[in-house]
Structure formats: structure tokens, C-alpha cells
């Protein structure tokens, strides 16, 4: 177990190192800091002087080193657009994105698990066939189309749900949250469902396929032969073994979830990190782009590690020996 964590740590440092390098290169190329700082028209001598002052004429390695040094202290530069420190700008919007992503994940799990399990246990039931047909349809509908259809139906035609913004916020635990007000939750529903629709078809199919494979295993037959309570067979024996591939695939989807959160936030004008990132990309606001990439990189590494730990918790073969059988 210790060995696993150590290996993880090294991998983490490597990944963060690569991300920081890419982020640094992007920051240098995106937008012109000189122009932003000193206005449009500036003489060549001024430019050269500014370049020297800002250290932009030093060798690459040195500049990168400085960048890392500042980053470790939390200084990721100032946004060209907002004229404010970049990192706090991104972090201020982190709760909004997290609530969106967590809401979507919850919806995915709450729907895909029962549907997938049912489709595996009763494959010939008409509801199972319907569910499978819907998933094929689901993977063919791009997420922004789902969003548009959702807005058309629930916002424009029916007027049940709002289509923009986060609604009324409250801060019972210290951060601005939309989870504790009815208005906030109403605003969360459409975006979270839209984001969930990205993963829902995949997970329903995955759970059904894995559960079907597990149900065909000998140990399930043996569990029946033992005369166990059927409920226990479905849950503890069958479903628990389904968790492993579920965790693996789920872990691989985190990247997609984060990326498509950008799209979702943009469509619904959800004030999260992703929306700010896209706007900054369009505005060539380098420091904010960098800040976003680094924050996302850290989140990614943390969640990857958590997924690995979770996997080890479920599979005793990994927990005890540290490596897969």
C-alpha cells in the first residue's frame, strides 16, 4: 500500500510538471503582456526596456523556473482583462463548477445504476429494451443539442426551469452555494442533467454489460446453489463485482466531465471556472488560462488518486499485494 502511494506521488509530480510546462508555454504565447500592460502604441525602445524589466528576454529555463516559483507561492500573474490576480479569479468560481459536476455525477449514478442493473437481470423485459434503445439514441445526441432541447422544452415551452445562471445563493458553510435554496436547486437542474446526459448512456450500457458478465460467472451460480437470499446475491455478490470496472471507467471519464462542463457552463451562463476559461481563451487572457489549467490539473490528479484508492478498497487483491493480480 505504501509502495502504491509512493508511486502515485512520483506520477503526480510528473503530471503536474508537464501541465505546468504546457501552461507556461501557453501563457507566453497567448496574448501580449506588454501590450496589455502599457497600452496599444508603444515605441520600440519602450518595448525593449519593458521586456528587460519583466525578464522576458531571459533564457527559457530561467523564465520557466521563475514561473514555477511564483506558482508555488500562489502567484499566477494578473489577468489582462480583469487586471486582478488570476488564481483567485478561478478559485472564486470553483464552487460553482464543483456543484455542477457533483450534481451531474449524482444524477448519473442515481439513474444508471438501477436501470443498468434491471436491464442486466431482466434483459428481455420491454423496459430494458427501451432503455437500451434510448442509450443508442443518447450517444448520438451531442451535449449541446440536449441542452438546447432541454431549454426549449423545460424553459421556453413549459416554463418549469430557468435556463441561465445559478439563481439565489446562500452560504451556510462558508462558500456561495446554490444547493440550499429552492431557487438555486432549480437553476442547477437543467445544467446538471445536461452534463449528466454525456455519461448516462455510457454508464447504463457499461453497468448492464458488466452485470451480465458477472451474472454468468461461476460464483454467482454457486451462490444460487448455496441457497442464499436472492437479494444478497444480486447486491453483494453480483453488483460488488460490477463496481471494479465501473470505477475504472468512471475514473477515465473525469477528463471528459471537466471539459464538457466548460460547454455546459457556457450554454447556461453558469458562472463556473469553465465559462471563464473559454472567455479567457477568446480574449487571449493568458494568465487566467494558465490558472485554469493548473487548477484543473491538480483536481485531476487528486481525483485520480482517490479513484485508485477506491479501487484498492473494493478489490482485496490489490489492497493486499499492491499490484493487480
Amino acid at each position: 500500500m505504501l509502495e502504491l502511494l509512493l508511486r502515485r506521488l512520483i506520477q503526480t509530480l510528473l503530471v503536474l510538471g508537464v501541465i505546468s510546462l504546457i501552461a507556461f508555454v501557453i501563457q507566453e504565447q497567448l496574448g501580449d503582456p506588454l501590450r496589455e500592460l502599457s497600452g496599444q502604441s508603444v515605441s520600440t525602445e519602450e518595448r525593449t526596456r519593458l521586456r528587460h524589466e519583466l525578464g522576458l528576454d531571459r533564457p527559457f529555463a530561467l523564465r520557466y523556473g521563475q514561473f514555477v516559483g511564483r506558482a508555488l507561492r500562489g502567484d499566477l500573474g494578473h489577468s489582462y482583462f480583469f487586471k486582478e490576480p488570476a488564481l483567485p479569479l478561478i478559485l472564486a468560481r470553483l464552487p460553482a463548477t464543483l456543484e455542477l459536476v457533483l450534481g451531474a455525477t449524482l444524477i448519473v449514478l442515481l439513474i444508471s445504476v438501477p436501470v443498468g442493473l434491471f436491464a442486466a437481470i431482466r434483459p428481455r423485459h420491454p423496459l430494458s429494451q427501451l432503455a437500451m434503445g434510448l442509450t443508442l439514441f443518447g450517444i448520438s445526441v451531442p451535449i449541446f443539442i440536449t441542452a438546447i432541447l432541454g431549454i426549449m422544452l423545460f424553459s421556453v415551452k413549459l416554463g418549469w426551469l430557468p435556463a441561465q445562471g445559478r439563481g439565489e445563493l446562500s452560504a451556510p458553510f462558508g462558500w456561495n452555494s446554490g444547493l440550499f435554496t429552492l431557487d438555486g436547486v432549480q437553476h442547477l437542474l437543467l445544467p446538471a442533467c445536461t452534463l449528466a446526459s454525456l455519461l448516462l448512456p455510457l454508464f447504463v450500457r457499461l453497468i448492464r454489460a458488466e452485470m451480465t458478465a458477472v451474472l454468468n460467472q461461476e460464483y454467482i451460480k454457486f451462490a444460487w446453489a448455496k441457497g442464499l437470499a436472492p437479494g444478497r446475491i444480486w447486491w453483494l455478490h453480483a453488483f460488488k463485482n460490477t463496481l471494479l470496472p465501473l470505477i475504472t471507467v468512471g475514473g477515465m471519464q473525469i477528463g471528459g466531465l471537466v471539459a464538457y462542463a466548460i460547454l455546459t457552463e457556457t450554454i447556461f451562463q453558469w458562472p463556473g471556472m469553465g465559462a471563464l476559461f473559454l472567455q479567457s481563451v477568446n480574449r487571449a487572457d493568458g494568465p487566467v488560462v494558465t490558472a485554469y489549467l493548473l487548477v484543473v490539473g491538480v483536481i485531476f490528479v487528486i481525483t485520480s488518486t482517490l479513484v485508485d484508492l477506491l479501487y484498492g478498497l473494493v478489490d482485496p487483491r490489490i489492497r493486499l499485494s499492491g499490484t493487480a493480480p
Binding site: I26, I145, L149, V156, M252, N282
Partner: protein
């Protein structure tokens, strides 16, 4: 090969859903390729449309106009025409991106499967990392860089090529892993050993023996990848980073209609949206059928 393709053909005729998907797909593709002749209007020629004709609803609604069968957009352009032209762009970019992915992925997959253990580990590590970063993210960052490095007109002009390259470079891992798996499986088989013993060169074994037998799985993932590439391009164009509204693909068109959604001109987004969905659905249905037909375990015809 003849034997297999004719039996595949016969199987297709017996699967009504896949057949319908294929026919619909062919219809869409032909219509889009023949856009120049089929479209009632040329949406790229500013002289052929008039802002006064903006936001006319489709023919079957009140206020419809026979000149605009599916309605007109915010600039007065005919939606049907844009859909035809836009589908062509979407298809071309999708196919182009898959060509790039396939080429890159096949080469890397061959190297990994046939090369040294160390090389294999390295390449597969790389593939894993790249697969966990979403294509959308890679594309966003790459396009952002391109936008800031190239002057505006350059960028606009080269957007289709950039999209093909970016989506292609982002998705090679799928092909690489599939090919590598197939190569590793085939390598074990006796005929490769026999060919080697008979003195055939590595390259000949590769090209004449291995490659034809790995074709099946490649074909299957190609359909999925085309659908995925089309979706990626649509998403990027929808976000404003892909095809511009002056030369719109389906995604760009949907984007242009988005703000007008709440004010009632729903057809500008919804109708091209449904076309996009139809296109992708047909490709996916075909891909599903192909996978079942080519998989010997599912009762398809084995090679």
C-alpha cells in the same frame, strides 16, 4: 476478401434497422455532396441573401415562405441550403480527422505491437494519458494557441485544416490501442512464425499478413470515430472556435440560432440540430451492426 464482403452484404440486407440507417446515411451524404446543385440558395454569397428575409419560419408554420423551405436564419439565409453545405463541411472534417487519427494511430500501434517492450510501454503510457484528457480540452487549448499565433485571416482561412489536424492528433490513441491489440494477438499465431522462419522480411510480414487481418476491428472503430469527430467539430464550432458563421458547419449554424431560441425562432437551432443527430445516429447504428457482424463470437462470419 470477396467472399467476406459479399456475405456481409447479404447480412446487411437481413438487418432492417442497419439497412435503413445505411440508406438514410447515403441520402444525407449524397445530398450534402451535391449541395452546390441541390441547394436553392448559395449561403456563401452575400449577394444572394437579404437581411430583410431574416427569421422566416419553416414552410409548415404560419408566416412560412416557399423560398425558405426550412425557414431562414438571422441573416436571411436559407436554412436548407446551409444545412446542405454545412453537412458537407461537417462530413469532410469528420472524415479528414479520422484519416489523420487512423494513419497516426496505425503507425504508432504497429510500432508498439511489433517493437521492443520498452517502446510499447512508453507509447501505451502516452496513449493512456492522452485518452484521459478529453479531446475537447486538447482542441480548445490547441485552437486557442493557433488563434493567437496566426493573424486573423490566416486562421479563418485554415480553420477546416486546423480542425482536422487537432481532432486527428487528439484521438490517435483509439486506433493505436486497437491495432496494437490486434498485432499482439496475430503475432502469437503460427502463420507469423512460419512466415518469419521462411525468411520473409519484417516489413513484408507486416504489410502482407498482419495488416489485412487487423482490418476488421479498425473498420468497426472507424465508424464510431467518424461520429465522434463530427460531434467534436460541431461542439467546437458551437463554442465559436471552429467554423465561422460565414462558412458554417452544422455546429456553427446551431450556435448562430442559440440566442434567438428564447425569442421564438427555434428552427434555426433545432432543425440543423436534428439533422446532426440523424447523421450521427445513422453512423452509430451502422457501426453497431458492423461490430456484431464482424465479431465471430457474436455469430458473425469470421474471416
Amino acid at each position: 476478401m470477396n467472399d467476406r464482403s459479399s456475405s456481409l452484404g447479404r447480412q446487411l440486407l437481413r438487418a432492417p434497422v442497419a439497412l435503413a440507417a445505411l440508406l438514410l446515411l447515403l441520402a444525407l451524404v449524397t445530398a450534402s455532396l451535391a449541395a452546390q446543385w441541390l441547394a436553392p440558395q448559395n449561403p456563401y454569397d452575400p449577394a444572394s441573401y437579404d437581411i430583410m428575409d431574416a427569421q422566416i419560419p419553416p414552410l409548415w408554420l404560419a408566416g412560412g415562405d416557399p423560398r425558405f423551405l426550412l425557414g431562414s436564419d438571422g441573416q436571411g439565409r436559407d436554412i436548407l441550403s446551409i444545412i446542405l453545405h454545412g453537412s458537407r463541411i461537417s462530413l469532410l472534417i469528420g472524415l479528414g480527422a479520422v484519416a489523420v487519427q487512423a494513419l497516426l494511430g496505425i503507425v504508432i500501434g504497429l510500432c508498439a505491437g511489433y517493437g521492443s517492450r520498452w517502446l510499447d510501454d512508453l507509447l501505451m503510457r502516452l496513449a493512456d494519458v492522452q485518452m484521459s484528457i478529453s479531446t475537447l480540452m486538447i482542441a480548445l487549448v490547441a485552437l486557442a494557441l493557433a488563434q493567437s499565433l496566426l493573424p486573423a485571416e490566416h486562421y479563418q482561412h485554415h480553420v477546416p485544416l486546423l480542425l482536422i489536424l487537432v481532432i486527428g492528433l487528439a484521438e490517435w490513441p483509439q486506433y493505436a490501442r486497437t491495432l496494437r491489440a490486434a498485432v499482439l494477438a496475430e503475432k502469437q499465431l503460427a502463420y507469423v512464425e512460419a512466415a518469419r522462419l521462411l525468411g520473409f522480411s519484417q516489413r513484408r510480414i507486416l504489410l502482407r499478413h498482419l495488416l489485412p487481418n487487423t482490418l476488421s476491428p479498425l473498420l468497426v472503430i472507424s465508424t464510431v470515430q467518424v461520429a465522434s469527430a463530427i460531434m467534436s467539430e460541431a461542439a467546437l464550432s458551437f463554442l465559436g472556435l471552429g467554423m465561422p458563421i460565414t462558412r458554417p458547419s452544422l455546429g456553427a449554424l446551431i450556435n448562430s440560432g442559440f440566442e434567438l431560441l428564447l425569442s421564438g425562432a427555434w428552427w434555426i437551432s433545432i432543425i440543423p440540430g436534428l439533422t446532426l443527430v440523424l447523421l450521427i445516429l445513422c453512423i452509430n447504428l451502422l457501426g453497431d451492426w458492423l461490430r456484431d457482424a464482424l465479431d465471430p463470437r457474436h455469430g458473425g462470419h469470421a474471416p
